[in-house]
């Protein structure tokens, strides 16, 4: 069990680190993180599928400054890994993967706040050295906080996967709704969140609604031809 969790934990730690600490190259976005997790489990297309659904939801939360936002890196690793362990995509598998991810993202948001409080405490403990311009104190503080962030993400991913993977397996045996209907409900929810998020971001920009309607017309036309 622990051996199974180790790769998930390492990936969760690395991608959790990307959210704020290093390098913020957006490898922590759900589209990327879930695909990586899927590849780790052995089925990257499944990871991509669940990552795309999560990415729609994640458009609702952009990492503005000191605001509190979900931690998508470790969360998407958990969801991607859970969905990819069911590559035949039974009814309810994607729903459970998304529920696992959103729950982890919520807890992850809380752990980031706690980490920032700890960072402040560690900085306060070094206040004298920092005020004296001690090079070692500045570098040590930076490395300590980043290491803590890595372990925060790793632990979160491991614990969350340890809880949600068996729960998902158990739930799938009892799932009574048709697979396509289940998928449709999930996609409706995710796309509604994405559309409202887009409105929040763009509604104040002059002409943006025409660009949106133009894009929608082209998108629907492409769908119609397929």
């Amino acid at each position: 069990m622990w051996i199974d969790l180790l790769p998930i934990a390492l990936l969760g730690g690395l991608l959790g680190l990307d959210v704020v600490s290093f390098p913020q190259a957006m490898i922590s976005r759900p589209l990327v993180a879930a695909t990586f997790a899927g590849a780790l489990v052995g089925h990257s297309p499944s990871g991509l599928l669940v990552g795309a659904a999560l990415e729609l939801v994640a458009l609702d939360t952009l990492p503005f400054g000191a605001s509190r936002y979900p931690e998508w890196g470790s969360a998407a690793v958990v969801g991607g890994a859970i969905f990819a362990t069911h590559p035949e995509h039974p009814a309810g598998a994607m729903e459970m993967a998304i529920i696992a991810s959103l729950s982890t993202a919520w807890i992850g948001s809380w752990t980031m706040v706690k980490l920032r409080e700890w960072n402040a405490r560690w900085a306060a403990n070094r206040r004298e050295a920092l005020d004296a311009g001690a090079r070692g104190a500045v570098i040590d503080l930076q490395l300590l906080c980043m290491t803590a962030d890595f372990f925060r993400g790793a632990l979160l991913a491991a614990l969350s996967y340890g809880v949600f993977a068996p729960l998902a397996r158990w739930t799938l045996g009892l799932w009574g709704t048709d697979a396509r209907i289940s998928r449709a409900v999930l996609v409706t929810v995710a796309a509604s969140v994405a559309a409202s998020a887009a409105w929040k971001i763009f509604h104040g920009v002059s002409g943006a609604r025409w660009f949106f309607l133009g894009g929608l017309a082209v998108g629907l036309a492409i769908m119609g031809t397929r």
């Binding site: 290093f22 795309a52 939360t61 900085a123 001690a134 796309a191 559309a195 971001i201 769908m223």
Partner: protein, 263 residues
């Protein structure tokens, strides 16, 4: 005048020289600028961490009081968008190496926080990131595989990301404490609006395409989903400020899972 205010004179021939190795060291450290982000000094320690390679070039060297004073000054409270903080890092490196007075440097740090935060938020978080994300979702909707989708997203996003950080460092270093005028650059001034329009276009393209791929074939079902999405989005817009969409999504999905299990 205190000892802290006295900075050694920098010979003119040493000004405006930042070795490539130092630039690269600063650039790499800038990727970790938020590594110790906290509610007390925010980015402060990260700024000191990024500037440290440049401060080693101070005339009296690494172990001097001048180095320590500069590092202490630069590790105090600072706030900015993490990518555009590179402008501040470049400008502060130049100011310290040019021997500007601590008072001027501190005034400059205070004045720069707000603009670098708001410009970066609008340009990157509310513009470039959603645009690249939606572009990748559109490629996914067209049938793109994992590799293609990831290359499109990470390639496009990080092209802008790394270019912005590098431009910020170079611009800050070139203009020093007069860098504020550079924030009037057309890309920073008009970029957010233009990118927002492109992102709106990408939203219209990507959402129907992505959801059709996740659902799979079947036009009747797809039509029903599209109609429901419009209603759902309108409800969420009306609820704006009262509940976040992603939390509501979790509640709805948990309720649906409970129904499906009990059914």
């Amino acid at each position: 005048m205190t000892a802290r205010a006295i900075a050694p004179m920098i010979p003119p021939e040493r000004r405006a020289v930042l070795p490539v190795r130092t630039q690269l060291a600063i650039f790499l450290r800038m990727l970790a600028i938020q590594g110790s982000w906290n509610y007390e000094i925010l980015l402060g320690n990260g700024i000191g961490f990024c500037l440290e390679p440049a401060l080693r070039l101070l005339p009296e060297g690494l172990h001097s009081q001048h180095f320590k004073d500069a590092l202490a000054r630069e590790s105090k409270y600072f706030n900015a968008h993490p990518y555009l903080a590179s402008v501040a890092v470049g400008a502060l490196a130049r100011a310290e190496l040019d021997g500007e007075t601590p008072e001027r440097i501190e005034r400059f740090r205070t004045a720069l926080c707000g603009p670098l935060g708001s410009v970066g938020d609008r340009l990157v978080w509310a513009g470039w990131l959603p645009f690249c994300s939606l572009l990748a979702l559109f490629i996914f909707g067209l049938g793109g595989g994992p590799m293609l989708v990831l290359v499109v997203f990470l390639g496009s996003y990080n092209l802008g990301h790394f270019a912005l950080r590098w431009w910020g460092l170079r611009t800050g270093w070139t203009h020093g404490l007069r860098v504020a005028a550079s924030l009037g650059n057309p890309v920073l001034r008009n970029g957010p609006q233009q990118i927002a329009r492109l992102a709106a276009l990408a939203t219209g393209l990507a959402i129907p395409m992505a959801l059709s791929r996740v659902i799979g074939p079947g036009r009747v079902l797809l039509g029903g989903v599209l109609g429901s999405v419009i209603v759902g989005a309108l409800v969420l817009v009306r609820l704006q400020g009262r509940i976040e969409g992603w939390r509501l999504a979790l509640f709805v999905l948990v309720a649906f899972a409970l129904f499906s299990v009990a059914h």
